[in-house]
Symmetry: D2
Subunit: 329 residues, 4 copies
Amino acid sequence: MNSFGRLFRVSIYGESHGIQIGVVVDGCPAGISLCEDDLKEDFARRRAGGIGTTPRIEPDLPRIVSGVYKGKTTGAPISVVFENTNTKSKDYENLWDQPRPGHADYTGQQKYGSNNDPRGGGHFSGRITLGIVAAGVIAKKILAPIKIEAKLIEAGGSTNIEAAVKAAVDAHDSIGGLIECTCTNMPKELGEPFFDATESMIAHIIFAIPATKGIEFGSGFASARMKGSEHNDIFTNNLGSTKTNYAAGINGGITNGNDIVFRVAVKPTSSIGVTQETFNFKTNKIESLLIEGRHDACIALRIPVVIECATAIALADLILLEQQRSRVF
Amino acid sequence: MNSFGRLFRVSIYGESHGIQIGVVVDGCPAGISLCEDDLKEDFARRRAGGIGTTPRIEPDLPRIVSGVYKGKTTGAPISVVFENTNTKSKDYENLWDQPRPGHADYTGQQKYGSNNDPRGGGHFSGRITLGIVAAGVIAKKILAPIKIEAKLIEAGGSTNIEAAVKAAVDAHDSIGGLIECTCTNMPKELGEPFFDATESMIAHIIFAIPATKGIEFGSGFASARMKGSEHNDIFTNNLGSTKTNYAAGINGGITNGNDIVFRVAVKPTSSIGVTQETFNFKTNKIESLLIEGRHDACIALRIPVVIECATAIALADLILLEQQRSRVF
Amino acid sequence: MNSFGRLFRVSIYGESHGIQIGVVVDGCPAGISLCEDDLKEDFARRRAGGIGTTPRIEPDLPRIVSGVYKGKTTGAPISVVFENTNTKSKDYENLWDQPRPGHADYTGQQKYGSNNDPRGGGHFSGRITLGIVAAGVIAKKILAPIKIEAKLIEAGGSTNIEAAVKAAVDAHDSIGGLIECTCTNMPKELGEPFFDATESMIAHIIFAIPATKGIEFGSGFASARMKGSEHNDIFTNNLGSTKTNYAAGINGGITNGNDIVFRVAVKPTSSIGVTQETFNFKTNKIESLLIEGRHDACIALRIPVVIECATAIALADLILLEQQRSRVF
Amino acid sequence: MNSFGRLFRVSIYGESHGIQIGVVVDGCPAGISLCEDDLKEDFARRRAGGIGTTPRIEPDLPRIVSGVYKGKTTGAPISVVFENTNTKSKDYENLWDQPRPGHADYTGQQKYGSNNDPRGGGHFSGRITLGIVAAGVIAKKILAPIKIEAKLIEAGGSTNIEAAVKAAVDAHDSIGGLIECTCTNMPKELGEPFFDATESMIAHIIFAIPATKGIEFGSGFASARMKGSEHNDIFTNNLGSTKTNYAAGINGGITNGNDIVFRVAVKPTSSIGVTQETFNFKTNKIESLLIEGRHDACIALRIPVVIECATAIALADLILLEQQRSRVF
């Protein structure tokens, strides 16, 4: 299912080298001001450009083709489309025989057989996250005054991110990264006790972002080594503020008004300029593979805005759910 | 929404001190042998009893009251119910004024107001995971020959689990733990590229288990410090086996046939026998709170079976989805 | 899927002669007063008793086993259960060979194979609608001040219902009926333009009631013979009242504040005391079949309350959806 | 929610006079041959042209922009888009003050406020059914060898359809119609006992088609006047064939292999060239309204193909569901 959300429902489609990538957002309330310029900033953040990012430059100009009238959302589904223009028609057929390690080449062909679109990763491409960013920009408008900010706090194990990326570029290799995301001005009451806990909803959509390997909220993995007497967040005032925030603003799946804080582990890009020895399914033996083309040395550089937008989508859904629930009686 | 799954749909209900806890499993195929004895082993694993676990002993005898005829599932919804018998009617009203740090007392009363059932944590209680275990036992039958095994590999930061737990008990404190779960004999093709990635589905349900603070798949958080040249899992044969398994058996959200491996961080139980200084919302000042009663010093001891069962539910849903998809043409 | 609704979610389970029938209502707001007595009136209306209805008397005493605390809903799932006590263990095995015409015996065995529970119709039994009634009683509380009233306006083609039923009983035969349902005090704005039109939601759940053969809203089938100039409902005042109500209070799938009116065709009960010549799948020839036992001569007598409750469920879901949507901005 | 289906999931978007109308089909299996030419025939049937249909001619050239590679579906979401080119920018603002009787003008403005797009009916337009037709063409490919055929059997109460339409055109009025749809070569086992009965699924999507006022299956409303002894469909052979087919091929919500037959009542188009006396919400009095422009005198002429395609979507979803369920064990 290429959809997420119960009330703020996001459906994405498209392939890296297909004709069009897009997103449909269903359930957005009417009356929100929205135009294509609103998308510019987050698209620029996501776009390639700096050192350590792929030189493929797509203009990524989004068109809003439905759901907006006179600059405001109408309540009908909002469709945002992106034409793919900069697609090189190189031969991806050899990837069939020798699937790239760490990519979805192999699982794609196992799942969809010869119908899998191999060009540029097809539907598995990180480029499809354009739709998540577009939907996230809309979601953020619903969320105001909540603020979501994600940033790369470590790359390749180092906090000197620039140097680490440069070293990876020079080595034709790639490196992973650690991203921290903080949501401030949080309302209370979002989320549900079971199955749709706030953490469940956020984790669900974060793992839909290619290259995600782990997520931890607040104390996270450190909590496994802690005692209850140090981990419990003591209430300090009648607003429900707490002395510490190991709970990351969530108890029993429900937000308590304190900041949501979580960290995401991003693996190093699978596409590297280093020769790899890997199995060739046609010749039936291990052979050298050198992946041509230009790639992201540190995809984690471009992911913070995607994480922000994905989180905004999850919170927008929870907020609409809560508004419905809390309004009766 | 207290439900999980699209095709293998699990709905849970009940409160810690309510009349009945239960689970309805909808979408289970007909013809699977199922009786109450099948539930015994996993219920025994989940149940209290050892050192470091609460002395409240519920018989936890499940009754299967629908969906089974002559020892086999009929294809109709399966309902499993548990009566609550050992509920002490102590006064939980004071928790309203001075909510326990780390619990859902505060968020429960914020979300549901004075209607929140405070007795023993109400619907937020870990006891509700009985339903997850019952549904998981059924799910495992669909999954055969897949094997899922979760175990506690660390408690309070130590691999000498027994000693760590004993120390916590002696200190009237609690400790967290780290659980590793491995799924073997995995089929290929489960999961979907976006939103319903295998990791998304598993993480969603794992975070529904109270006390979960983080999840990482394969290389997990370590991947953030790795290079692509070391992280890529090299294919070694025509079965798709890989030299390493940093991907945890999943590429692009889809299983590749190698083992799924993930780790879950469990926080220390919030209920401790140590006095805590925390805000009293009635008197409007910080006061001492000593929680009476007997609690789990290390809830992580009891969670491995819940993680296994939750994972089984997520995989059962993905397997039914895949069977539908792969069968046409 | 034995569930209905997106926000007011109803899941039913059970078999006619199984251990327990039940319903889980998820998504009901907190703070609604609810006790078992509230269910009595509608259960009495649904229950057998009068002429033309089956003499099987189940006490049908519902137990609310979760989701209610101190007489009010808590916001957690509400589970209502009914024990089956009056089940005669007669032999239903012969129905396997010679499935009853008009029943689900044949389709049940085709779909679920030998695992289908044949006793009293198993999960296909009209008795499962007990769960719809229980959920509907809860739904009606959300809907106030909307009033829903369904009544049998014709039986066996006659408006002299009592006489028609008596004739059917005397002939050991059964008759169908026509039920009209009216919802008054309707709010505007419920429903959505496509797929979740108000008519779509109501029709979906009404066809889940066994024996339903047709549904028409307002002008219904008569509209096919009308002209636009006579069919259009002219607005008469600034409340949006209309001169006629052929639209049944719905335009473009959305309620306009006028009454919703629809009619449901109910077929004659398939179980009759008349010998039928029908195929025996074991002997491979057409043979006489006389169904023993006592049955409803006019099941339509008992269905109005089920239609009311089903309609209440559909409207409750639409109302919760609308409240969410209309609250932002 | 502008989506339908659990496994074959159809999401539509767009406005009559917006930039683009489209549909996203998620869950279509890989390997189905599909190209834009496949859509031509059904689009031609739906398109305006004959007497009694609107002279607005949209080229309606669909573009398939994702989910197809080398002429076959890939398993990824299929997106089909239609540009709106023939939109007259006339002033629809006056409809705000004096909403057209029988249209969604009034409910649209009530639900979405001043943000409702009034141009040509906006998202309420029958033009949005283009997406249903596109998705239905894809669905039919999954359904083979099932055949679905819908035809107009009556217009304005007359079987001499051409004459009835001509009379309506001459009178600047409109007429309703009756459409019968038959599905042959049906497999057994589709549908579920409660809530997702075959009739529920079909009725749900049929009522999403603008102008639908009623639906009846098999004996339909006539069944309300019948006796059980005449209504029961007697089995005649070991294939499950029946002497009559009052059940319309469905028992207990599940298909029995016989034809599905249902009839749909379509109301007369609300847009007529006759002056109507209706309330003006600005002047606060009843005034004359003459709707300009050219309209369908008998929209029922164009709906059969939409009904076929909608039915195909519902059956495709049920078929995928059944394949999943029946494959285990």
